[in-house]
Amino acid sequence: MNLEVEISGVKFKNPIIAASGTFGFGREFSKLINLDLFGGISTKGITLKKRTGNPQPRICEVYGGIINSVGLENPGVEAFVNDELPFLRRFDTKIIANINGFSKEEFVELAKIVSPLVDMLEVNLSCPNVKEGGMAFGKDPDKVYEITKEVKKISSCPVIVKLTPNVTDITELAKAAEKAGADAISLINTVSAMAIDIETRRPLIKMVTGGLSGPAIKPIAIRMVYECFQKVKIPIIGMGGIMNYKDAIEFFLAGATAIQIGTVNFVNPNAVLEIREGIENYLKAHGFKSVKDLVGNIII
């Protein structure tokens, strides 16, 4: 059974990638599971300078998901390169660096430093939890085009652009990324959301709003992958609420070439293993030879 997928020349031994921000830099999870099991790992979003992130509480639970406002807490690019990358490099898995700038120049600077050291870049134009940069750029197709183009110019490895679902038409963003030369797009980042404690009448997240992830956003994500698959030719990495192999298959059928798993890692650190086995069994049972046969293979 062939689980291998290829994105812009980068060969992933299986289509399962750890989603940025849910897996740190792999260190913690490596004590629990073999990181080699992953086709790839997208690392915690990094910025040029160290960031402390948002105040507590940063997380709350709602039906079928969690709302977070971590706010890109990270040790900065230098610490990433010196302290985290060498560790991650020991594993037989593709490393995707998730980068976050607060200006076009910062994205370019990050790409310059990091791209020679990793397998792919994931340009995060979709973080809902920072005031500038992130989603503010990512909602505007012109900005998506501009930043992607500049990052592509400087980057020595293939570039994924990560899109936000918090727009009327995500395909506009997908098309802008493709036109600017992106090698792939990943979607979706978290959905802007809010929850209120009715006893205290206060928001459950200090920042008032945050990003919703988990099973609650899966149908939205599937729809968006499906729509983008109609509109762009570059590969799509799909994510949002994948809890098991069935969810993963749905993403492939909607048009995803690979998937990322995020929130499920908190609930079930063995998810990668179970999803991989599940995909294999599904392929066997349905007479498919490879994951590639599933991509976009929905019957309407």
Binding site: G21, T22, F23, G24, R27, E28, F29, K31, L32, K44, T52, G53, Q56, P57, R58, I59, C60, E61, V62, Y63, G64, G65, I66, N68, V70, E73, G214, P215, M243, T263, N265, F266, V267, N268, P269, N270
Partner: protein
């Protein structure tokens, strides 16, 4: 740290809304240190609650692990309905532990509400190490008392406070602890309880070291998601699940 399926041996109410859950696990019983916690998946394949819930290990006896908990919301409600023979999935042991050694001077242990749970095994170990241990426990009311007989066995002096004065000192346990500091000759204090209680302790500016076990909302429990971050003294970020839950009170913002 391991992911384990364990079979519940007992899950019973020991006070108003307070339960004690036990299961057998050689691994956890052997590796456990006072202060450690576990992340319990209260319901498999559940959409709500989705995340695991963190609970301290109260104590271990031979290969049996005991977890005391208070029913406060959906997760603990579901947990309270679990029966002997049911299986739950546990990730642990997680976090750091309390410092245990022979201190040259008395030790004060101050606990309030659910913060009392991790302190029992701590007292046990502190006694075993040869310390004189004074324990201060705060409850809402007489009907909320738990673990009192057990603490009697592992302390030299046990002082109970209740908010309504139905037993022991009337008022909160920090106020009472404060009255004993001068005569106590304490070398070190350990505490766990609600945030206001811990900030009250911090504002006492104790003339000796104080270690506190903190709580923060958690997702992963192992240091990967950065949901449970708190600020350290120098604006550095600390993670309650992996750098803690036990911290030197002077090293963290409470």
């Amino acid at each position: 740290m391991k992911l384990l399926d364990v079979e519940i041996a007992e899950n019973k109410m020991i006070a108003n809304g307070i339960y004690l859950l036990s299961f057998e696990s050689d691994y956890l019983a052997k590796t456990f240190k006072p202060g450690n916690f576990v992340n319990i998946l209260v319901e498999k394949d559940s959409i709500y609650p989705l995340l695991r819930r963190p609970f301290s290990i109260s104590f271990v006896k031979e290969n049996k692990v005991f977890i005391g908990y208070k029913v406060v919301g959906i997760g603990t409600q579901i947990l309270s309905r679990k029966k002997k023979g049911d299986t739950i999935n546990i990730l642990g042991p997680l976090g750091n532990s309390f410092l245990i050694e022979r201190f040259d001077g008395k030790v004060a242990v101050v606990g309030g509400g659910v913060g009392i749970f991790p302190l029992l095994s701590l007292c046990h170990e502190l006694k075993k190490a040869g310390n004189e241990v004074d324990v201060f426990l705060g409850f809402r009311s007489k009907s909320d008392l738990f673990f009192v007989d057990e603490f009697e066995k592992v302390s030299d002096n046990l002082f109970i406070s209740t908010d309504d004065g139905s037993i022991g000192f009337k008022g909160n346990t920090v106020e009472f602890f404060k009255t004993k500091i001068a005569e106590g000759n304490y070398k070190v204090a350990f505490s766990c309880g609600p945030k206001p209680m811990l900030s009250a302790i911090k504002s006492l500016n104790l003339p000796f070291k104080c270690y506190v076990s903190l709580e923060e909302k958690m997702a992963c429990g192992i240091g990967a998601c950065l949901c449970c971050s708190i600020k350290g003294k120098e604006d550095n970020m600390l993670h309650v699940c992996s750098d803690g839950p036990v911290f030197d009170i002077m090293e963290v913002e409470i």
